[in-house]
C-alpha cells in the first residue's frame, strides 16, 4: 500500500504543479461513511497506479445536482458557477469522479455555464488504467465470485455508459450475471431526482426493495454498483431482506482493489 497522500489543488498550486486529473470526490464520497470507503479505495488505486492526481478538498462544493433535480435551478446555478470559478481558477482540464450524479452534472450541465472539462466516471478511468497497462491486478482473489451489476441511471441511461463497469467485472474474472432489467432497461434504485433526501411518495413498495429482489434473483455473492447512492439503496435493500451476512454490496473501485495485488 502506498504511503503517499492525495494532495489538494491549493497545495499543488503552491508548489507550482498541475495535476493530470482532478478527483472530484462529491458530497457522499466526502461525508457518508459507506461512500468514504469507496473514495478511499479509488484514491489508493490512483496513487498505486502513480496517477498525478489532486482533489479540491475544502474548496469542493456540491455540484448542485440534487437542487436542480428538486427543481431549484437558482441554487443549482449558484453552486455551478461557484464551482466553475474554482475549477477554472485552477485551470482544471480533466476530472474523474466516483459519483455518476456529479459526473453527469459536470460533464453535461457545466459547459453551458462556462465549465468545460473532460469528465470521466471512475469506472471509465479504471478501465483505461487497466487497458493501458498502467494498472495491473495480480492474484485473482475474486475469480469465480458470482457478481451482478446494478446500472446507475446517471451513468447508464443518462450517459450511455454500460460497458466500462462490465469490462471491469470481466477483468477481475468474476462470474458475471445480469439482472433481468439491465443496461438501458435497468431499474432505478430509487435515490435519483433528489429522492435520496426525502421520504418516498405513498405506494405499495419501496423502489430499492423492488430492485434488490431482482438482484437477489440472480443469487449473487456480490451486488456491484458504481454510485454511492445506489450503494446505499441496495445495501438497505439487502439488509431489509436480511441477507447482509451472505451478500455484499460493493463499488467497482472496491472490487478492483480487492481483486488482487495491484501494481503499476
Amino acid at each position: 500500500m502506498s504511503q503517499q497522500s492525495i494532495p489538494s489543488m491549493a497545495d499543488l498550486m503552491a508548489q507550482g504543479k498541475q495535476p493530470d486529473v482532478l478527483f472530484w470526490v462529491g458530497c457522499a464520497g466526502s461525508f457518508d461513511d459507506r461512500a468514504k470507503k469507496i473514495t478511499k479505495a479509488f484514491a489508493r488505486i490512483l496513487l498505486q497506479a502513480g496517477v498525478n492526481v489532486a482533489i479540491l478538498g475544502k474548496e469542493e462544493s456540491c455540484t448542485g445536482d440534487p437542487a436542480k433535480r428538486a427543481g431549484n435551478e437558482f441554487l443549482f446555478q449558484m453552486q455551478a458557477m461557484t464551482n466553475i470559478e474554482v475549477l477554472n481558477g485552477y485551470e482544471i482540464k480533466k476530472i474523474v469522479t466516483t459519483c455518476p450524479h456529479c459526473f453527469n452534472t459536470l460533464k453535461n450541465e457545466y459547459p453551458a455555464l462556462g465549465g468545460n472539462y473532460e469528465v470521466m466516471h471512475h469506472t471509465q478511468y479504471l478501465k483505461d488504467l487497466l487497458e493501458s497497462g498502467k494498472l495491473k491486478i495480480e492474484g485473482g482473489k475474486l475469480k469465480g465470485k458470482r457478481i451482478t451489476f446494478h446500472d446507475p441511471c446517471y451513468l447508464g441511461r443518462a450517459n450511455g455508459e454500460y460497458e466500462a463497469p462490465r469490462k471491469l467485472i470481466e477483468t477481475i474474472e468474476a462470474e458475471f450475471v445480469e439482472m433481468r432489467r439491465c443496461k438501458s432497461k435497468g431499474l432505478c434504485c430509487g435515490a435519483g431526482g433528489a429522492q435520496m433526501f426525502k421520504e418516498p411518495e405513498k405506494g405499495n413498495k419501496d423502489i430499492n426493495i423492488e430492485r434488490t429482489e431482482e438482484a437477489l434473483e440472480t443469487e449473487p455473492e456480490i451486488i456491484a454498483s458504481a454510485c454511492p447512492f445506489c450503494n446505499t439503496m441496495m445495501s438497505d435493500g439487502v439488509k431489509n431482506k436480511e441477507k447482509e451476512g451472505s451478500i455484499k454490496v460493493l463499488d467497482l473501485a472496491e472490487l478492483v482493489e480487492m481483486a488482487g495485488d495491484l501494481s503499476s
Binding site: I6, S8, V25, C27, S30, F31, D32, K36, K40, A43, R44, L47, G57, K58, E60, S61, C62, P66, A67, K68, R69, A70, G71, N72, E73, F74, L75, Q77, M78, Q79, M81, N104, N108, E109, L113, C153, Y154, R157, A158, N159, G160, K185, L187, C188, G190, A191, G192, G193, A194, Q195, F197, K198, P200, E201, K202, G203, N204, I207, I209, E210
Partner: protein, 437 residues
C-alpha cells in the same frame, strides 16, 4: 362508367372531409403553439437520420418484439395499401373504374395481390392487438388513466381498421365473378367470392359499389377521427422524432433566465437596488404551472402520444404503486391544451383565465414528487416523447415560484446553500477521509 351525380357526391365528400380535417389540424397546431418558443433545429442531418430510424424504421417499437412485430404489419400495411387510395381518388373524381389496371397490366394484379396479403396481415395484427387489450388485458392498457375514453379510443381504432380492410377485400371479392371485371381475381379475395355467388351481374355491381364507397368514406371518416384520437400519432410521430432531444438524457437544460439572474448576483459591479429598465417586460414565470409555460415541443409530445404505456410500465415509481404515470402526464398536457384551445375558441381568440391550471387540476404534486428522474420513461417511448422535461419544469415552478417543496427537500437545499453539501457537515471537513488512506 362515366361522370355523373356519384362523382359530384364523391368530390363533395372529399372536399368537406379534407376541409374539416385541415381545420382541426389547424386547431391542434394552434394548441401546440400555446407553448413557448424553443429552437431545436441544430444538427439537421442527425435529426433526419433519427427520424428515419425511429419513426420510419420503428427502431424503438421493436424493443418489445411482439408488439413491435404486429405494429410494423399495421404500419407497413397502412402506408402501402394507401397507394391504392390514389387510384380510388382518380376513379372517384373522374368516374373511371380501376384506371390503373389496363396501363399497368400484370403489375397491377401483382400490386393488388400484394395489398390483399397486407390487408390480411393488418386484420391479423388488429385482432392480436384487440386480444392483448381486451382478453389478455395487459396491465399497461388498464391503468387508472386508461379508464373510459382512452380504452374505447384504442378499440375503435382497431375495429375501424379491420372494417376498412374487409371493405377492401370484399370490394375485390364482389368483382371476382363480374363479367366486366377489368382485372383479377386476386390472391385473397377470390376465396371470399363465394359470398357473392348466385348474385346477378347487377347485384355484383351494386355490392362492389357499396364496398368501394364504404372503403373510401371510411378512410375519410377515419381521417377526421384522427384529431380527436390518440391515433394522431401516425402524423406527429414524424415531427416528434425530428425534434427529439438528441443530447445525452442526463443533460437537463439550464434555465437561461436563471443564468442571467445568477450572473448578476455574482457580478461585484451589479447594483442590487437598480430599478428594472423602463418598458422591460415582466419577468417570465420560472418553471411551468400551465401548458402555456411549457415549450411547444412539450405540447407536441402530448399530441404525439398514443398512450401505449411503455413509459408507465418502465417507471420505477409506477411499478411500486406510486401515483406517478408518465403516460398520464402526457395525457393531462393534451387534455389541458384542448381545454385552453376551446376556451380561446369560445372567447374570440384570447384565453380567459378559467381559474384552473395543469398543476393541481390535472397533475397532482404527489405525482410530480414521485419521479426519480431516472429517464426510463424517456428511453421507453417509441417516438421519443420526454415526460421528464415536463415533470422538471413543474417541479421548478413549485420550488422557485411557490417554495412549496417538502420540508426534507428544503432542508437539503438549505444545507447545499450553507455548507455545500446536502447534509449538515462543515465544508472544511470534506477532505478528512484523505488522512485515513
Amino acid at each position: 362508367m362515366s361522370f355523373g351525380i356519384a362523382n359530384i357526391i364523391f368530390l363533395a365528400a372529399l372536399v368537406v372531409a379534407i376541409a374539416i380535417f385541415a381545420k382541426n389540424v389547424g386547431k391542434i397546431r394552434r394548441n401546440i403553439m400555446l407553448g413557448k418558443d424553443v429552437n431545436r433545429t441544430n444538427n439537421k442531418s442527425e435529426r433526419w437520420k433519427n427520424m428515419g430510424l425511429v419513426a420510419f424504421g420503428q427502431s424503438k417499437m421493436v424493443k418489445r418484439p411482439i408488439a413491435g412485430f404486429f405494429h410494423i404489419l399495421i404500419y407497413v400495411g397502412f402506408v402501402l395499401i394507401n397507394i391504392e387510395v390514389l387510384e380510388i381518388l382518380i376513379d372517384g373524381i373522374f368516374g373511371t373504374h380501376r384506371i390503373l389496371a389496363s396501363p399497368l397490366g400484370a403489375v397491377y394484379t401483382s400490386a393488388i395481390n400484394f395489398f390483399e396479403v397486407l390487408a390480411v396481415l393488418v386484420i391479423v395484427a388488429c385482432v392480436v392487438f384487440l386480444w392483448r387489450r381486451n382478453v389478455q388485458r395487459l396491465p399497461r392498457f388498464h391503468k387508472d388513466e386508461m379508464k373510459g375514453w382512452p380504452t374505447k379510443d384504442g378499440n375503435y381504432i382497431l375495429v375501424i381498421e379491420i372494417v376498412l380492410m374487409f371493405a377492401l377485400l370484399l370490394m375485390n371479392a364482389s368483382e371476382a365473378n363480374m363479367e366486366a371485371a377489368v382485372a383479377g381475381p386476386y390472391i385473397v379475395s377470390q376465396y371470399l367470392a363465394s359470398f357473392f355467388s348466385g348474385m346477378s351481374q347487377e347485384g355484383l355491381h351494386t355490392a362492389e359499389r357499396i364496398f368501394w364507397w364504404t372503403h373510401i368514406i371510411g378512410i375519410l371518416a377515419f381521417l377526421n377521427y384522427l384529431p380527436f384520437s390518440k391515433h394522431f400519432h401516425i402524423i406527429l410521430a414524424f415531427p416528434n422524432t425530428w425534434y427529439a432531444n438528441l443530447n445525452p438524457k442526463g443533460k437537463f437544460a439550464n434555465n437561461e433566465t436563471v443564468t442571467k439572474e445568477v450572473k448578476m448576483m455574482m457580478d461585484p459591479n451589479a447594483d442590487p437596488y437598480a430599478a428594472p429598465a423602463e418598458g422591460q417586460a415582466e419577468p417570465e414565470r420560472f418553471g411551468a404551472k400551465d401548458v402555456m409555460d411549457l415549450d411547444w415541443i412539450n405540447i407536441m409530445n402530448a399530441y404525439a402520444c398514443t398512450e401505449c404505456g411503455r413509459c408507465t410500465a418502465e417507471c420505477p415509481a409506477n411499478q411500486t404503486g406510486k401515483k406517478l404515470s408518465p403516460r398520464k402526464i402526457m395525457m393531462d398536457v393534451r387534455d389541458r391544451a384542448e381545454i385552453v384551445g376551446a376556451n380561446i375558441d369560445a372567447n374570440k381568440g384570447s384565453f380567459q383565465d378559467d381559474g384552473k391550471s395543469l398543476l393541481d387540476d390535472h397533475i397532482s404534486r404527489e405525482e410530480l414528487w414521485a419521479c426519480t428522474t431516472c429517464n426510463a420513461c424517456v428511453e421507453a417511448c417509441p417516438v421519443q416523447i420526454d415526460p421528464l422535461d415536463i415533470i422538471m419544469k413543474m417541479r421548478q415552478y413549485m420550488v422557485m415560484e411557490e417554495s412549496s417543496a417538502a420540508q426534507e427537500l428544503n432542508l437539503m437545499m438549505t444545507n447545499v446553500e450553507n455548507n455545500g453539501a446536502p447534509w449538515q457537515f462543515p465544508q472544511d471537513d470534506r477532505a478528512n477521509w484523505a488522512s485515513e488512506l
